[in-house]
């Protein structure tokens, strides 16, 4: 299948990219790794007039720490995240997430920024990044602003990005007590997308949970904070019973959609199962 015809530009700087965005307005789409956009274009589900390829802009890729923040360039590939010693050391749950996206070839090409900006409800990274309390640096010709994950994902395929903005980096806080992070995913047997997934970031002090962010994927249009689950963990020893009770809370207050593979009730139950698995895995991290 061939995408409909389009124009293409590969700006060498952000300034140039902003100019192109101004020039083409809504007719343009930004191209990062292309692994969400190009498949949709091949099926002619979307037919942008112009693609603005961000890959030639220097400085948009790479993983570094900036004080107590991990900074990941928007064009960093999933493989780079999955295999980064830095990420593996600091946030193993994020490395685990990157390593189960799509498949080997997709990970070699797909980017964190592309996945986040696309905001597919079946994507993995939005779930984990929300659990990690990441924020997204949105740059425009007027400067940049930083939006927390909790506020960034608005609805199915919809984010806080304005048409004149480019997601340039992802910032993940690294608190002084390192979080124990994990990701558990039930993949769709055909697409590999999330049927249901859960990410957990826990802080533990002396065996007791001092902080918890538990986020579900696949149960709605955006990553879902399982606040009941989080509340059921904080202040408790992470025993099997405590985890099971907290996980049970994950099935409350969600409205998953049935699809050709799984019905709503199954997904709701899987939210419980996978929240439990994610919490257990996080709790077991040292």
């Amino acid at each position: 299948m061939h995408p409909a015809s389009f124009g293409y530009d590969a700006p060498g700087s952000l300034e140039e990219a902003f100019g192109l965005l101004r020039q083409h307005g809504e007719d343009a789409k930004l191209l990062a790794g292309g692994h969400s956009l190009l498949p949709a274009m091949k099926l002619r589900l979307t037919q942008p007039e112009v693609l603005i390829d961000l890959s030639r802009i220097p400085g948009l890729s790479g993983i570094r720490t900036d004080g107590d923040t991990l900074v990941i360039g928007a064009l960093t590939t999933h493989t780079e995240v999955a295999t980064s010693e830095t990420v593996r050391g600091l946030l193993p749950g994020l490395a685990d997430t990157a390593s189960v996206i799509g498949d080997l070839q997709v990970r070699n090409r797909g980017t964190m920024g592309g996945s986040v900006a696309h905001a597919d409800p079946g994507a993995d990274l939005p779930v984990t990044l929300t659990a990690l309390n990441a924020s997204f640096v949105l740059t425009s010709s007027g400067g940049e602003r930083t939006v927390a994950a909790d506020d960034f994902f608005v609805d199915f395929f919809t984010t806080a990005l304005e048409p004149n903005e480019i997601l340039t980096s992802i910032r993940i806080p690294l608190p002084s007590t390192p979080a124990r992070t994990s990701y558990a995913k039930l993949p769709h047997p055909a697409s590999g997308y999330v049927v249901v997934s859960a990410a957990a970031a826990l802080t533990v002090d002396g065996g007791a949970c001092t902080g918890a962010r538990v986020v579900l994927g696949g149960v709605g249009g955006t990553p879902h904070r399982a606040t009941g689950t989080e509340a059921a963990l904080v202040g408790k020893q992470l025993t099997t019973d405590v985890i099971a009770e907290a996980a049970r809370q994950a099935g409350e207050g969600i409205d998953p959609h049935a699809d050709s593979y799984a019905d709503e009730e199954y997904k709701r139950h899987m939210a419980v199962v996978y929240a439990g698995r994610a919490i257990e895995a996080a709790a077991a991290r040292v």
Binding site: M1, H2, A4, S5, L43, R44, L186, H188, P189, A190, S191, Y193, S260, Y261, A262, D263, E265, Y266, H269, M270, V273
Partner: protein
């Protein structure tokens, strides 16, 4: 199964590495889309988005005016150009099957307009802007529903959804049921499956108006049959059509027939006098290529209280989809020859009813009716044992046809050539360490875990559907060419036929070249499907080789001044019996054959052709054992062990046979675990891409143990039986029986495949709710 050869001196039975591999491994294969011709035009097709509708209007004006577009065709242009399927019964109902819709469409994906353009991209651009106005009509997608009174009609003009009914009855079924102590009943549906060959369908037609000829490259399993079908549809002489099956990227039954696009592309090429190509996209392949299974089976098994099977009634309702391809109506008929499986049941009634629906046409897909038949009888056997409180092995052993009964005429009046079903069962039990499996299961069950063990023992008919041709030619220099009608598309015929020919001629394998897949090069052929190549192609080749050796012996005798009766084969040629120093080489014999060296009265040349038809199928068999575990919390099914013992008679190349079992098994596990083409009630496909339709991946494959027994086929010159569908036929029922065994403590006695996690979870939940 050992991959070492049985007889170290024999090429037959040796795991020779494939000669077809080097080009395929280096990117030098040539599939239809790789064929280069100057000036190829490309076709893209605008397809129905409605499952059933009258077409009010088609607007092609904008498309026709687009850059690069040569023409746009609709049903008004192609008129009566259509596919025709054979009449199987005198009163069979047959809907129109025009290459482009004429006034109405009956399935999503039905072709409405074809754009011919200078590139595929431009053709797709234009096809996308064609506007069709529909008047939607009521829809039916389920075959059983389609046969109910008042059902919507898949084809209004037929006035019925019924296609054909076939019945077979033997013995006194009513008496058997009247005398039975127990009747075991089961209703099952086999999931609709997509063949999903990695290469989607494709066709390239090259017309030669000066010579009045047409060359067609097709991704097909049988070029000669395709040629005849094209000739019939096009009204163009068969002997002026040259069909080439180049490298073919899998078929699994779905590429056995000619499709509308094949006829359309040939027609357009002839009309425009330009080479024209169409390649299916994967999405088009999901909507247009014949799909498999989708049969509903309602069965009753009459039993004595000690577990003897007394009588069998089977009613099959088959979903044919919206249109009839040449082989669409075939698979359900398998039940007519396989219903009693490996059991001695003489009082049998089988009824096949087939129906049209507003879905993709069905047709042969690996197994093609065999998996449904095996599933039916093997699930019945298991359920019967449970009903009677018997062991599932005991009921099987008690009813097997015994080795001394072969050839055995079954209750559906078919003769099985040979068999020893207990032997293969015992081997499977041994390899699986069956008693230990049962102990493990029982212990797990004590702990409340859902673990099950399942067995299926089955027959696998192979080699049906007409003749096959084979020829062996030895040219002037002694070079050997095999010409086979078995058109290989992954089965390794270039290797195996060379092994067989070299073995029979006593020449080095390297001196044999195998040709196939070309209607000019090859005398005639039927093709590769239904596990038939080893039996039919091999039988033809062996017969031709035998004739060739006989003729060569006569020529050799002439050269050595010996009686042909005294001539024996030696490595590389012939010698006088007992006098090894009096010998001639194949090269000398071939030279003589082409230069007045044949005995008086004998034609020159060394080229023997055989058309082989034993008028019977070969009845391979096997026993498969599965150990499964179900996670009650998620419904996830894990196959922890799978043992497959197959008896296919003589094994020509163990490496290739083993890999055929692997491949068939993967497709069988697809059916058991994850594959199902789903249409919603409105007739829209819900699983029409690889994003929704799950095929097995590397990680799907469980640990395997393969074994074999060898019971020779007495009606085949090589002693062989087919193997291509063994894994597909035997493994899914073993898994099904294991799953039902695992769920039996919950009182669940049947669930249809595929056993997806959500489906099993739901069943467990509801059973526990009570």
């Amino acid at each position: 199964m050992s991959t070492e050869q049985n007889n170290p001196d024999s090429l037959i039975g040796a795991s020779i590495r494939r000669v077809e591999d080097p080009p395929l491994l280096t990117g030098q294969g040539c599939y239809v889309d790789d064929v280069k011709l100057p000036g190829i035009l490309h076709v893209a097709i605008h397809r129905s988005t409605h499952p059933h509708a009258r077409i009010v209007s088609i607007d092609t004006a904008e498309a026709a005016a687009m850059p690069g577009v040569v023409c746009v065709l609709t049903g008004d242009d192609t008129g009566d150009l259509a596919l025709r399927a054979p009449m199987l019964t005198p009163d069979m109902n047959m809907p129109e099957h025009p290459v482009l819709a004429r006034g109405s469409v009956h399935a999503v994906g039905a072709p409405i307009a074809a754009v011919v353009a200078e590139s595929r991209a431009l053709a797709e651009d234009a096809a996308a802007v064609i506007g069709v106005e529909y008047d939607p009509l009521p829809v039916v997608t389920d075959a059983e529903a389609a046969l109910e009174d008042g059902s919507p009609l898949a084809h209004e003009e037929l006035g019925t959804n019924h296609c054909y009914t076939m019945k077979k009855e033997n013995g006194d079924v009513d008496k058997a049921f009247a005398e039975a102590d127990h009747i075991c009943r089961l209703h099952m549906k086999s999931p609709r499956l997509v063949a999903m060959s990695m290469e989607a369908r494709g066709v390239l037609a090259y017309p030669d108006p000066i010579r009045n000829e047409l060359t067609v490259w097709m991704s097909t399993q049988g070029p000669h049959r395709s040629r005849a079908d094209l000739a019939n549809s096009l009204g163009f002489p068969e002997n002026r059509i040259h069909v080439i099956a180049p490298n073919v990227g899998g078929g699994f039954g779905s590429k056995g027939c000619v499709y509308r696009e094949d006829v359309l592309v040939c027609h357009v090429a002839q009309k425009l006098n330009r080479p024209v190509k169409w390649m299916a996209t994967r999405s088009e392949d999901f909507l247009t290529t014949c799909q498999g299974r989708d049969q509903a089976m309602t069965s009753e098994l009459a039993l004595s209280k000690d577990g003897r099977m007394l009588g069998l009634k089977v009613r099959v309702v088959a979903n044919l989809g919206a249109y009839l391809h040449s082989a669409t109506a075939g698979p359900p008929q398998r039940m007519l020859v396989m219903a009693p499986g490996c059991y001695q049941i003489q009082d049998v009634r089988v009824e096949i009813v087939s129906a049209f629906t507003n879905t993709v046409p069905t047709g042969p897909y690996r197994g093609a009716g065999r998996p449904e038949s095996v599933l039916n009888i093997e699930r019945l056997a298991d359920k019967a044992a449970r009903d009677l409180g018997m062991d599932t092995l005991e009921i099987r052993r008690k009813n097997y046809i015994q080795p001394d009964q072969f050839p055995y005429r079954t209750g559906v009046n078919v003769v099985y050539d040979s068999g020893d079903y207990e032997k293969s069962l015992d081997e499977a039990l041994r390899l699986s360490d069956y008693d230990r499996l049962i102990r493990m299961r029982d212990e797990a069950r004590e702990r409340g875990e859902l673990v099950g063990v399942g067995v299926s023992t089955f027959v696998e008919p192979s080699g049906g559907a007409g003749f096959e041709s084979g020829a062996v030619r030895v040219d002037r220099t002694g070079a050997v060419t095999v010409l086979t009608g078995s058109s290989s598309h992954g089965q390794g015929h270039e290797t195996v036929w060379a092994q067989v020919a070299a073995d029979l001629l006593k020449v080095p394998m390297e001196s044999v070249v195998v040709r196939h897949g070309d209607t000019i090069a090859i005398q005639q052929g039927t093709g590769t499907f239904g596990s038939r190549s080893a039996v039919m192609g091999g039988g033809a080749l062996a017969t031709a080789a035998e004739r060739l050796v006989a003729k060569a012996k006569a020529i050799a005798g002439n050269l050595m001044e010996a009686s042909p009766d005294d001539v024996v084969q030696v490595e590389g040629g012939f010698a006088v019996a007992g006098v090894p120093e009096r010998n001639v080489t194949w090269r000398q014999v071939a030279g003589a054959a082409h230069a007045k060296g044949t005995p008086a009265g004998m034609d020159p040349g060394l080229h023997e052709i055989a058309f082989f038809d034993p008028n019977r199928e070969a009845w391979g068999f096997g026993a498969h054992v599965a150990l499964v575990r179900i996670d009650a919390d998620t419904g996830e099914l894990t196959i922890e062990k799978l043992v497959l013992v197959d008896d296919i008679g003589v094994v020509l190349n163990p490496m290739i046979v083993e890999a055929q079992v692997h491949g068939g098994l993967a497709q069988g596990l697809g059916e058991a675990l994850c594959e199902q083409m789903v249409f919603d009630e409105e007739g829209q496909p819900r699983t029409g891409t690889l994003m929704d339709y799950a095929v097995p991946r590397a990680s799907t494959m469980p640990p395997l143990i393969l074994g074999e027994t060898e019971t020779l086929n007495p009606f085949n010159p090589l002693g062989v039986k087919g193997v291509g569908e063994a894994g597909t036929n035997g493994a899914p029922p073993a898994v099904a029986n294991a799953v039902m065994d695992a769920l039996s403590p919950l009182g669940i006695d049947h669930i249809d495949m595929p056993y997806t996690a959500p489906k099993l979870w739901r069943a467990i939940k509801e059973a526990r709710k009570g």
